[in-house]
């Protein structure tokens, strides 16, 4: 039989405890929380009162942390030795870790794996896997692009080479006859359109047949190569040297009148006269060259006419003792 008569609860204290629990249950910070509550005489009621006060303190301590956590603000430190917020502290820790991992992933580190974080683990790990696959694919694409570029460069180089071979004379490296014909058309059209002039130089080696007969065709070929190289080095970048046939060459001089073409040709003639041709370690006898020069004008507006005029001038040079320059001017050779 219980001899203790239960103490009648203090209505004011009960009201205070009720207010605390009501504020907690409605998600508000407990206002005016006392450090201590008046003691009940009954130990059970006293313990209940202490536990409610402890709960309210932990709740209040957690409140700001949990609010910030809900907003994704992770730099608010969790309250220490606060058991009320333990699940949120675990979540806070997970989120801090996930944040760090995502930062690493953003830096391209796909080694990180998330373990034991429930759905987060699957989502993050799947993302890492996809990013890794994408990067692998990007890497392969980049490598393929580099390879493709290399092939394209090689192809372009070979195309250029092929193009060069198609328009170049194999022996001398001068442009070939076909290219000469094309360029002559081009220069004539350009001169007609812009009212400019250009000159054609035709030259061949004096006594070349006798030279070949005496020193052999290989030596003759070496003369052609040396002469071609020499002339290419002497003329401007815009001028072009062509092998017209046999030992006969032409030079197209864009935007050059007869006078300037004459000066250039005379300079070439003099230099060729003193140019050595080395063959099998020895110098061959020096050669001389005869030149014929003609320019585009009112009277000469067809490629064939210009070639004919330059050829006529060359013919005159040959008949004037060779090793000289002759000009076609106003239907006369001078």
């Amino acid at each position: 039989m219980n001899l203790f008569k239960p103490e009648k609860p203090d209505p004011a204290l009960l009201d205070q405890l009720n207010q605390i629990l009501e504020q907690i249950s409605t998600g508000r910070v407990v206002q005016n929380l006392p450090k201590e509550l008046p003691l009940f005489v009954d130990p059970a009621q006293n313990q209940l009162s202490k536990n409610i006060l402890l709960l309210a303190r932990q709740y209040n301590e957690s409140f700001g942390f949990m609010q910030d956590l809900a907003r994704g603000k992770l730099d608010t430190a969790p309250p220490i030795r606060n058991y009320f917020s333990n699940p949120f502290k675990s979540l806070h820790s997970e989120l801090l870790h996930l944040t760090w991992q995502i930062q690493q992933i953003a830096k391209g580190d796909y080694e990180q794996k998330v373990s034991f974080s429930g759905d987060f683990s699957h989502a993050i790990n799947s993302m890492i896997q996809i990013l890794q696959q994408k990067e692998d694919l990007d890497k392969i694409n980049r490598e393929n692009e580099i390879k493709l570029q290399k092939y394209a460069d090689e192809l372009a180089y070979l195309n250029n080479k092929l193009m060069e071979l198609a328009i170049t004379d194999a022996l001398t490296g001068a442009l070939n006859r076909r290219q000469f014909d094309t360029q002559m058309e081009h220069e004539l059209q350009r001169s007609q359109r812009f009212g400019k002039t250009f000159s054609l130089v035709m030259f061949d080696i004096d006594y070349f047949k006798q030279f070949n007969d005496h020193y052999g065709h290989q030596a003759g070929d070496q003369v052609l190569i040396t002469l071609s190289q020499f002339v290419k080095n002497e003329i401007r970048q815009t001028d072009r040297l062509y092998r017209y046939g046999g030992e006969e060459f032409t030079i197209i001089l864009p935007e050059t009148d007869l006078r300037n073409a004459s000066l250039l040709t005379e300079k070439l003639r003099k230099k060729i006269e003193f140019t050595n041709v080395e063959y099998q370690g020895n110098n061959l006898p020096r050669i001389t060259v005869s030149f014929g020069v003609a320019s585009y004008s009112q009277q000469i507006q067809e490629p064939a006419h210009l070639i004919h005029a330059a050829d006529k001038a060359l013919y005159h040079a040959k008949n004037s003792g060779r090793n000289c320059v002759r000009l076609f001017k106003d239907n006369f050779v001078t």
Partner: protein
Amino acid sequence: MDEFNFNWQQLGDIQEGRPNLGNMTSVTAYRLMQYTMRAVLEHEFGDEKTKQLLIQSGRLAGKAFCQNILDTSLPLNKFIAQLHEKLIEHSIGILRVEKADPETFSFVVTVSEDLDCSGLPLQGVTVCDYDEGFIEGIFHIYTQQNFIVKEIDCWATGERTCRFTIDVNDQEMTTT
């Protein structure tokens, strides 16, 4: 290793010695050994000295673990990822990095489901002294620098994960 009479070979050939029971034991068995030993040490040498001895032992274990289990040639992030995997593989705990500054080698990491303390009754103080030394030893071998590892949260203080700060120690260490 160092001045202590310990090397990895002393752990023996577990596969040969335990063909049926294998490499794993229960957490109960581990903690039974750890906490009885701790109780005796505390009784014989006091709390502070026991704490020091446990940190020293952990450091020795961490160094040996790093030298024998981990690839120290990896760059930092890969090394941490590897450490995470190996700690799970050996059922030691789940390592997670919360903050890392690779410039200063300063970290905050957590170890969840920690072998030493997860599930312990509340004691009001951190108890993972051995873990502190263990982490310190690993980072020392990896970086050849000395570290101060401090447990700031522990299951035994009411947290749900153990949290450690790891910082370079510029002072010369007095113990191994």
